[in-house]
Symmetry: C2
Subunit: 240 residues, 2 copies
């Protein structure tokens, strides 16, 4: 039996939270004493991004070099107490199934996107900028790098044959609304996973104004406020 307090929808990391919880619970039930790194490596078998959800705070996923992926794992780069007023507002725009699965999509992108190599060439630089930005609590640096990185990633999917276009009308509404927020002096940046939902990065001081503006958009059915939290852990509440 499993339960989620987050919608199980495209691009909302539901498989990441679910698989990390399952891994921690199953290891505990089996009496396995694994280190956080070992848990991260193990849970990656269920869902790649789940390797990050073992940890709390701000986490980096190391790509690794081995063919079998055994050196691909995550580690915490800053505890949640390091930057307590960092926020992410997840917008929910639809519950429909993704048109192309992101796993199949990625293989197509590698094979057919004319921009894929140039995309890869910018990833390390962006990763360093975000890592440095988190350490320095530089919101503009983290936000602008994440936003441009997301646009570059979606541009590679859009130019895959056949095209993988996750953006829907509501996606564009939110993108333009966030750009307008910045014109109006609000500190807000958007980012996107492989799905139509947009996440808005912001700080605690601006939550109310940004949330109001997002909820006013036609295509936004709900918003979920997220903040740096704890990692996966054993709790004593039972689901059954």
């Amino acid at each position: 039996i499993s339960e989620s307090n987050f919608p199980v929808a495209a691009g909302l990391a539901s498989s990441a939270s679910g698989f990390s919880a399952l891994t921690v619970a199953a290891c505990s039930a089996a009496g396995l004493k694994l280190s956080p790194k070992e848990l991260s490596i193990l849970t990656r078998q269920g869902s790649g991004s789940a390797c990050r959800s073992i940890f709390g705070g701000f986490v980096e996923w190391h790509r690794g070099n081995r063919e079998d992926g055994s050196d691909s794992y995550a580690e915490e780069i800053a505890a949640k107490e390091h930057w307590p007023d960092f926020r992410m507002i997840a917008t929910i725009v639809e519950a429909k199934k993704k048109p192309v699965s992101s796993r199949g999509g990625m293989a197509q992108t590698v094979a057919t996107c004319p921009y894929y190599k140039d995309w890869l060439a910018t990833v390390d630089e962006d990763l360093k900028a975000v890592r440095d930005g988190i350490k320095a609590r530089d919101f503009e640096k983290v936000g602008s790098t994440a936003e441009f990185n997301a646009l570059k990633m979606h541009a590679t999917m859009i130019t895959t044959k056949p095209s993988i276009i996750y953006w829907i009308p509501a996606t564009m509404e939110i993108i333009h609304a966030v750009r307008q927020m910045r014109e109006d002096g609000l500190q807000a940046y958007f980012t996107m996973d492989a799905g139509p939902n947009v996440k808005v990065l912001c700080q605690e001081k601006d939550i109310s104004e940004i949330t109001d503006r997002l909820k006013d958009l036609d295509g936004v059915t709900n918003t979920i406020l997220c903040k740096p939290g704890a990692g996966a852990k054993i709790v004593n509440d039972h689901l059954f």
Copy 2:
């Protein structure tokens, strides 16, 4: 005094038709006898794409190599009678001003887009495919090449710093609607200039079904049916 039977809006080539008409009219008034190629070179000073509108039928714009642009001009590659059932349905989605002018935008893209070189490397191949497709009246080849080329171009604008994002909610509605049409067996492809409006390439036999579907979309305020026409010419009707 000038008059247009086409909306003067972003991405609808209003400057192309206007400047080619002005050039032909002004040369006639001044008693200049220029060849079509000379007219094409001259009118390009007003608006780049106007160099194509001197001609009728299917036209190719040669980029040229000279710094001063004097060898950049257009020529007809097939007369309108060559492919009389080729159609383009222009959708009108908004009358707002473009957020970033396409001229300023292009310079930013050249300077900052990580994909710009890879984009340039694919242009000659696409141009050849479309040219061959027109000569062979191969609708799928022309349509699919034009569509993917437009996506690649918009991807370079999206990944310009700062991002040039012309797509609005209605743009995504139309893109997904056209993809759905193909799923349903209709032959339709979309293409886009530097603006939010989408043009749907199709053939005479499918006009009614495709137009109905486009008009059903929330963000589409109007559609304009276009077909291969004549070039700029002197008429005897006066506007004043």
